[in-house]
């Protein structure tokens, strides 16, 4: 690890308390009432490249030339120069969110930190809090504005978008994030299944509906999650941990 890399390591990661709340599932069935989410803690910002570097140094099985293909596809950490070298050309992103990491890698990282991935309900509850350091009309509008922008060539550092009322940075506007149960049932959304009868393919699929039809940003988030597989490594998808 070069001096610059070492220097960039963030020593203590703050977690913020998210109080008990109710989360209204985006896709509603008649059995799907608002879900009580007990209080938990969430990382202040997404796991960065230097933070993830610590993890792969301590866990050789998660280095990019060693990783098992069952747990991460060939794009895993593809922009890193080598196993334990983020690379000089990447020096601007040492403190940017690590991306191109699989769900399995994210799980393993959080476990190593004695944490876990947040559930969809926890993430959505935490992410719905209003920004406190920027002025916006609505969160939906803000998020859609982000979706419209093409991906930047260099991913900005963490803490560069906004901080929300829980103290969390960049819940929207920087990357997409893995959740523990990203593969929750969301109707046969991506049409990967080949049955014509949804009722056959999915238990309880008959009466599905959307909680808030104007929440197009939420709709995109849920569709995105529904299209993922656990070993996918994607350039705008990272994670943060909960406890």
């Amino acid at each position: 690890m070069s001096f610059a890399q070492r220097n960039a390591v963030i020593v203590a990661k703050k977690m913020h308390h998210i109080p008990m709340g109710y989360y209204k599932p985006f896709f509603v069935t008649k059995n799907n009432k608002p879900l009580k989410v007990t209080a938990f803690k969430m990382d202040e910002f997404a796991v960065t490249n230097v933070e993830f570097l610590e993890f792969v140094i301590a866990n050789p099985a998660w280095r990019k030339t060693k990783v098992n293909k069952l747990f991460a596809d060939t794009n895993y950490l593809r922009y890193w120069e080598h196993d334990i070298v983020i690379g000089k050309k990447n020096k601007n992103i040492y403190n940017s969110p690590v991306v191109d990491v699989s769900w399995f890698a994210a799980q393993a990282y959080c476990k190593w930190k004695n944490k876990r991935l947040p559930t969809v309900a926890e993430w959505e509850l935490a992410g719905n809090a209003k920004p406190k350091n920027i002025k916006i009309n609505s969160l939906t509008e803000y998020i859609l504005g982000w979706y419209k922008k093409p991906n930047l060539f260099v991913l900005p550092n963490v803490k560069t978008t906004y901080q929300n009322e829980f103290g969390l940075y960049d819940m929207h506007g920087l990357i997409w994030e893995w959740t523990f149960n990203f593969n929750s049932f969301i109707s046969n959304g991506d049409s990967r299944g080949n049955t014509q009868d949804e009722q056959k393919a999915f238990c309880a699929a008959g009466s599905i509906n959307v909680a808030d039809r104007t929440d197009y940003a939420g709709f995109l988030r849920f569709s995105y999650r529904g299209s993922l597989k656990g070993n996918y490594c994607i350039a705008n998808l990272g994670f943060r941990c909960a406890k």
Partner: protein, 208 residues
């Protein structure tokens, strides 16, 4: 309409690169596997790298014994995820797996049959045992109970989507999966009461 929008989104943009990549990988795997024995050997190694038996989490059987997936090594495995309080889909998916077992006749002895429950709270080993009796399942079927993390990880590996509803029941995809002797996912069929001719054909090939 909503469904179509999602389809378009997914197909064209958001997760496009991930999908393409996994397709490219599949092609690589298929094209490598014939001709000389060296190549066959190499491809087998590669296949085992994708073995689901690498999941080391511990489960419990309907008899209360500890179990990990590596114990299935050596035989092809038919595997489905269910929960026993399910009134509509799960008895049918179980019946589908039973039909597969029946179609295999004597060859069924050379195959593992495994059901894993999403319902980590209610589906205790004892409850799974009662379900096995109720459904008249053969003694050598394995019904597994596991913790939230183990079950979620397995669902991710098997591409099964599920979510617990507020009433304690589950919404879930109905998927019968076939693993080869080494634990590599080889075939999946979605839906209930489907024609399982192809599934049976695949299993027979994997037994040889």
């Amino acid at each position: 309409m909503i469904k179509y929008i999602i389809t378009i989104l997914v197909a064209t943009g958001i997760a496009g690169c991930g999908l393409n990549n996994s397709k490219a990988e599949l092609k690589k795997d298929e094209s490598c596997c014939k001709k000389d024995s060296f190549q066959v050997q190499a491809s087998k190694e590669k296949m085992r790298e994708k073995s689901i038996f690498q999941l080391t989490d511990s489960f419990q059987t309907q008899d209360g014994n500890n179990f990990n997936l590596a114990l299935l090594n050596g035989k092809p495995t038919v595997i489905a995820m269910i929960f026993t309080h399910c009134t509509y889909a799960c008895p049918r998916i179980t019946a589908d797996v039973k039909n597969i077992e029946d179609s295999l006749k004597a060859a069924a002895q050379k195959v593992n049959f495994v059901l894993i429950s999403f319902d980590t709270k209610r589906d205790t080993p004892a409850r799974l045992k009662a379900f096995a009796n109720e459904m008249n399942l053969n003694k050598d079927w394995v019904l597994l109970h596991g913790n939230d993390e183990a079950v979620r990880t397995l669902s991710v590996l098997l591409n099964v989507q599920y979510e617990k509803d507020s009433d304690g029941n589950f919404s879930h995809s109905n998927l019968v999966s076939v693993l080869d002797k080494f634990g590599v996912l080889q075939f999946q069929k979605e839906g209930l009461g489907e024609d399982h001719v192809e599934t049976v054909k695949t299993i027979k090939k994997l037994i040889e």
